[in-house]
Symmetry: C2
């Protein structure tokens, strides 16, 4: 039976990189004889909002819940719809309603890509950011008082539950267990954020007891971002709250040269709901419509999707194809952000061919 994949391209360059993601997946499916069935959805973008006054139809959950995975582009177009409305009306709904409580983001310096960090070579940077993806700083509780006056005050809650914290920690420790260095770094800020963050630290200590082989350390988020730049080789698996994971999983890929190639998986590990795979980059209104966006983040996200569906070999082949095309370094193939003169399509086609 075919795996049913829901495809939502979203806004801006999401719609440009998606075809290349699909092209690469089709190549891998053909080579490894995997049956994938793609169904495209036209909602979850800002034009849909302008037409319908909402980002998705009321029955989106019903429409999507039985798919095996969601393959997502990028969402947001602030000139049409404010970001907090477009994002809370789509991506953040999926993460929460489909209980995709793990956001997994590899940071790997790839061959042929120049790191902005002096003297760093492929192999020097290779770690995962594991981000809590449903609670924490991204709560929807709070409000405004004395609106419009000098006394105006706005409050928003950060919410951490034992369930929420423990399950992401467990996932991160389990992942560290599978890695040669068996190292886990926790992102905290318990010196300044004095209620939720000391709780996070407590749960890390508690979980660590069950993983005596794992080498655990922690850094406050401020110095941790500094260490990403100064010592990216220190890291193996880095686990953080929703906000801290968000920051680290943009900063980490930046240290590996470009946000354009970074993939991510929003995972419901129990498989009760579909998981969602999307590039780390956003919809990039500034370069949208030019056909120059780097499709690697989308393609690599497709590779993560295949691994999630149980096709490790096909997934590895997709990543190897990306690495090969990057190593070859053909100026006419690579996109501008990684030093070439090619287009979304030339790069996407080269990778599909390599698969």
């Amino acid at each position: 039976m075919a795996h049913r994949i829901a495809v939502i391209a979203g806004d801006g360059i999401g719609t440009e990189v998606m075809p290349e993601g699909l092209r690469a997946l089709e190549a891998a499916a053909k080579r490894f004889d995997i049956a994938l069935e793609f169904t495209t959805f036209e909602f979850g973008n800002c034009d849909y909002y302008l037409e319908h006054g909402k980002m998705m139809p009321d029955d989106w959950f019903e429409q999507l819940k039985d798919f095996d995975a969601l393959f997502y582009g990028a969402v947001g177009w602030p000139d049409k719809v404010p970001d907090h409305i477009s994002l809370w009306g789509s991506l953040l709904q999926f993460r929460r309603q489909f209980d995709q409580y793990i956001n997994l983001r590899p940071c790997k310096l790839m061959p042929g890509i120049k790191s902005p960090l002096a003297g760093r070579e492929p192999g020097d940077i290779d770690f995962y950011v594991v981000r809590e993806n449903t609670e924490g700083e991204y709560s929807s509780i709070g409000g405004k008082m004395f609106e419009g006056t000098e006394r105006e005050i706005v409050i928003q809650e950060t919410v951490m539950s034992r369930t929420g914290v423990d399950r992401v920690l467990k996932y991160a420790f389990d992942l560290a267990q599978t890695r040669p260095r068996k190292k886990l770094t926790s992102a905290t800020k318990s010196n300044g954020i004095s209620i939720t963050m000391p709780y996070w630290d407590e749960r890390v200590l508690e979980m660590a007891k069950q993983y005596p082989e794992i080498n655990v350390d922690k850094f406050h988020i401020d110095i941790l971002t500094a260490n990403f730049v100064l010592h990216p080789d220190w890291f193996d698996v880095v686990v953080g709250s929703n906000l801290f994971g968000d920051i680290l999983s943009d900063l980490g890929p930046a240290c590996t040269g470009t946000i354009g190639i970074a993939p991510s998986a929003n995972i419901n590990p129990e498989g009760k709901f579909p998981s969602l795979f999307e590039p780390v980059h956003g919809s990039a209104p500034d370069i949208a419509g030019k056909g120059i966006a780097n499709p690697i983040g989308q393609i690599w996200s497709g590779a993560m999707m295949l691994e999630h569906l149980g096709y490790k070999e096909a997934s590895d082949a997709m990543v190897a194809a990306i690495e090969n095309v990057l190593s070859e370094g053909d100026q006419n193939v690579l996109t501008g952000d990684i030093g070439g003169k090619g287009t979304t399509k030339t790069l996407g086609e080269a990778i599909a061919d390599a698969i």
Copy 2:
């Protein structure tokens, strides 16, 4: 009449860099004929806590409030006292009780210092982070429910007031006004943190109306940290909430080579209470006691203090002395973190001599 300076060295390397900070200040005071009177306080460190069960005496506010400035080292020693207790019992009290609502942190690539970013030279990175320093994510409101059970939940508020947001924005816009590039970047996360951060954006838009000459942009904090690494030359004045400012003012200095040299000023602009000057680095238990900590962050903070007290020329001379000693690059003088074999003392003495 002499300016009265309260000196609190704190913990760890705070006690090692402080003498060099004072040495440099005394040299500047002598050369520019400034009367400074230093009074040392033995509280505000973790040993004091172990002895008294609190970080400071109950009358600390009375003892300190009439000083012209506080010159601070670094506080925290997690093996003795948990960070959230030591910090909330000292530094964070000063910031809040003395209404030091501006935290000003220059990020400048200095001569002789190697940036971890490839190909960046002195002049390429030169911006200020202006951090809100009294509210935001560093609230003390919140708590725990269902403690010790599976249903355990922890909540902490982020609080932004119009007063708090507007005054830090005003300071940042005024600062941008004095700079040749007249550029201001706002750090936000209004796509994910959907109540407080859209409010922050709103106030930025509102304030910008009063500064038509300023070129204003904004980035979400995730991509902003990425851009610090990819495009540090884009920034001139960056303004952020308490947490975002904290992160950016460690990451920025890391991009300029080392946290060890970065200074900061915690300012009460109205002068109703004393302002506080401290290095950005912490107490660094890992290198404490070895006499190898870099004293430049402390010395440069002293320069910021002189500027605050009205001695711009003396302040500039201190910064020039730092630049000269760094340019000379004498291995026997510089500390290990910036490529030398010297000590806290050799570097401190060289800078005092240069002044």
